[in-house]
């Protein structure tokens, strides 16, 4: 029994080590397999160009500077759409959370509009706002609005009634109740909503660009597909993923800064070493 215990030890620490660099290891293994399969022709390098050639293409596109312009246009649309959608979403979520009467009035409306795939609204948006820049931003904004509003409303509603009672027992005015209880109390879920929101904004911006745009990563990918430069399609996807990660890291950092009391956001950030 003793010898088994001793024998177990190194294995356990090895497992722990694997666990620590697990995600990185998994990605590296998958990329390696992909590279090998594509180079030996087991999978078609036309549809699945080996990662090394995607990196080469990405490097070339970066050097030419064109992809940076597309990425810049996309990021600008995402951020504008996010601001235009999540801002009103936050306000509506707060008021709906705080006022049962307003909630009863508006909840059916939100529930009916939320499940509509926002991309299906694009034709309507194009008709109303034209095919210019604004329609892509509006699409992202419409998508960003709902998760923000719904999460924030849930955030206000999960505040313990005792906190309202404490505030009222000390004679809090409506304004102070809002700034000292409703706002900070709903912040954890509101920021979760912001995260969902910014991701939806990114998805819808790309989707809108696929359909109707002169520039942007979505348009770049679509054009690469039409001219059958598959490696460029992948390169575009890599850039989109990097943008997505960057936006999430920024929001995570912001959460840690804005909620020093919230250990959850701290430990999440620490776990991924942001």
């Amino acid at each position: 029994m003793d010898s088994r215990l001793i024998g177990d030890r190194p294995r356990r620490s090895f497992a722990k080590r694997v666990e620590r660099c697990g995600p990185g290891l998994l990605v590296a293994a998958a990329l390696g397999a992909w590279e090998a399969l594509a180079r030996t022709g087991t999978i078609s390098p036309t549809f699945f160009p080996p990662p090394s050639s995607i990196v080469t293409v990405l490097g070339r596109l970066l050097l030419e500077g064109e992809i940076a312009i597309h990425a810049g246009v996309t990021v600008a649309r995402v951020l504008t759409g996010f601001a235009l959608g999540a801002g009103p979403g936050l306000l509506l979520g707060l008021t709906m959370g705080a006022s049962p009467r307003l909630r009863a009035q508006l909840d059916p409306l939100v529930a009916a509009a939320h499940p509509i795939p926002k991309i299906a609204v694009l034709p309507l948006i194009l008709v109303i706002f034209g095919i210019g820049e604004f329609s892509k931003v509006v699409l992202a904004a419409v998508g960003a609005f709902f998760p923000m509003a719904i999460s924030t409303m849930a955030g206000v509603r999960q505040i313990s009634p005792i906190h309202f009672e404490v505030a009222r027992s000390y004679g809090a005015t409506r304004l102070r109740l809002f700034t000292r209880v409703v706002l900070p109390g709903s912040l954890p879920l509101a920021l979760t909503g912001a995260r969902l929101s910014v991701n939806v904004a990114l998805m819808l911006t790309i989707a809108g660009e696929l359909v109707a745009a002169q520039r942007g990563l979505g348009q770049m990918i679509w054009f690469a597909w039409q001219t059958f430069r598959i490696a460029e399609v992948y390169a575009g996807l890599v850039v989109i993923s990097v943008i997505g990660i960057a936006l999430n890291v920024i929001l995570d950092r912001f959460s840690v800064w804005a909620m020093p009391w919230d250990t959850d956001s701290r430990t999440t950030a620490a776990r991924y070493q942001f």
Binding site: I162, V166, R168, S169, R176, R180, G185, P260, W261
Partner: protein, 258 residues
């Protein structure tokens, strides 16, 4: 000053018709008095405190505070059973909350709050958040949050109910120590007979729902009382008397035949 409750009743509109929680509750509390309320659970003790705190209105009856100099202080402050601290504020901001609501300037209120935080030995935790403290510390913060506003009347709703018995004794002593300096009216709801007898000048015993006051029992034991010493026989006697009054009510509230 004096707190006066005259024939106070409270009825809630429940799903199965009206639910009478308090019925015809009448009592008075003089200045500097420490009064406990005991009664079976669900007898409306918390409702009574909320009525006095003016968080809710009585259905009938009158609650009056007389002889209060109107110098802008809050009339009363509530201490809640599970402390009710704001998790998003530091200990210091939590303690200063009552002052903030009354428009005391930030440097001023933080000064006063930190003096109280120091007094209960939590100076090094002033900038911590509630979740970083033990339950005992949290409840101390909850208590000084009420004391710092210097209200003429403190309403405490089973403030030590969730604590283990050792921490409870220490905090009871701490409460008496602060009260000795401040000398507010304290109205203290508890389910712990020991606690009621040890702390108060007078005990109001309530019946089960609808809650009424069935007896007022004075506790004529000299202060300062030493809580940790072996209890004198008069304490045991008072406790026995309260229990005799209560046991039927408690059984009734649990549907146990005697």
């Amino acid at each position: 000053m004096r707190l006066e409750c005259q024939r106070v009743s409270k009825t809630y509109e429940g799903p199965d018709g009206p639910l009478s929680v308090l019925e015809d509750v009448t009592f008075g509390i003089e200045d500097h008095e420490f009064v406990s309320i005991v009664g079976p659970s669900g007898c409306g003790k918390t409702t009574l405190l909320k009525l006095i705190a003016r968080l809710i209105d009585p259905t009938t009856g009158r609650i009056a505070i007389t002889g209060l100099d109107a110098d802008g202080r809050p009339q009363s402050a509530l201490v809640f059973q599970d402390h009710g601290l704001f998790p998003w504020m530091t200990v210091l901001d939590n303690v200063a909350f009552g002052l903030e609501m009354h428009g005391v300037s930030r440097p001023d209120r933080l000064d006063r709050a930190s003096a109280f935080v120091e007094r209960v030995g939590l100076a090094q935790f002033a900038n911590s958040y509630p979740h970083q403290l033990s339950v005992g510390m949290q409840q101390r913060v909850g208590i000084v949050r009420a004391f710092v506003t210097d209200p003429p009347m403190l309403l405490m709703d089973e403030p030590f109910g969730a604590l283990d018995s050792q921490i409870r004794i220490v905090l009871q002593e701490e409460l008496l120590r602060i009260w000795r300096d401040q000398r507010q009216i304290v109205l203290f709801v508890t389910h712990d007979l020991d606690e009621a007898v040890r702390l108060s000048d007078r005990i109001l015993v309530m019946t089960g729902r609808p809650g009424r006051i069935c007896e007022e029992i004075p506790v004529p034991i000299a202060r300062p009382r030493q809580l940790s010493r072996r209890e004198p026989s008069e304490i045991a006697e008072i406790k026995w008397h309260v229990w005799e009054l209560l046991q039927d009510e408690v059984r009734k509230s649990l549907w146990i035949p005697d």
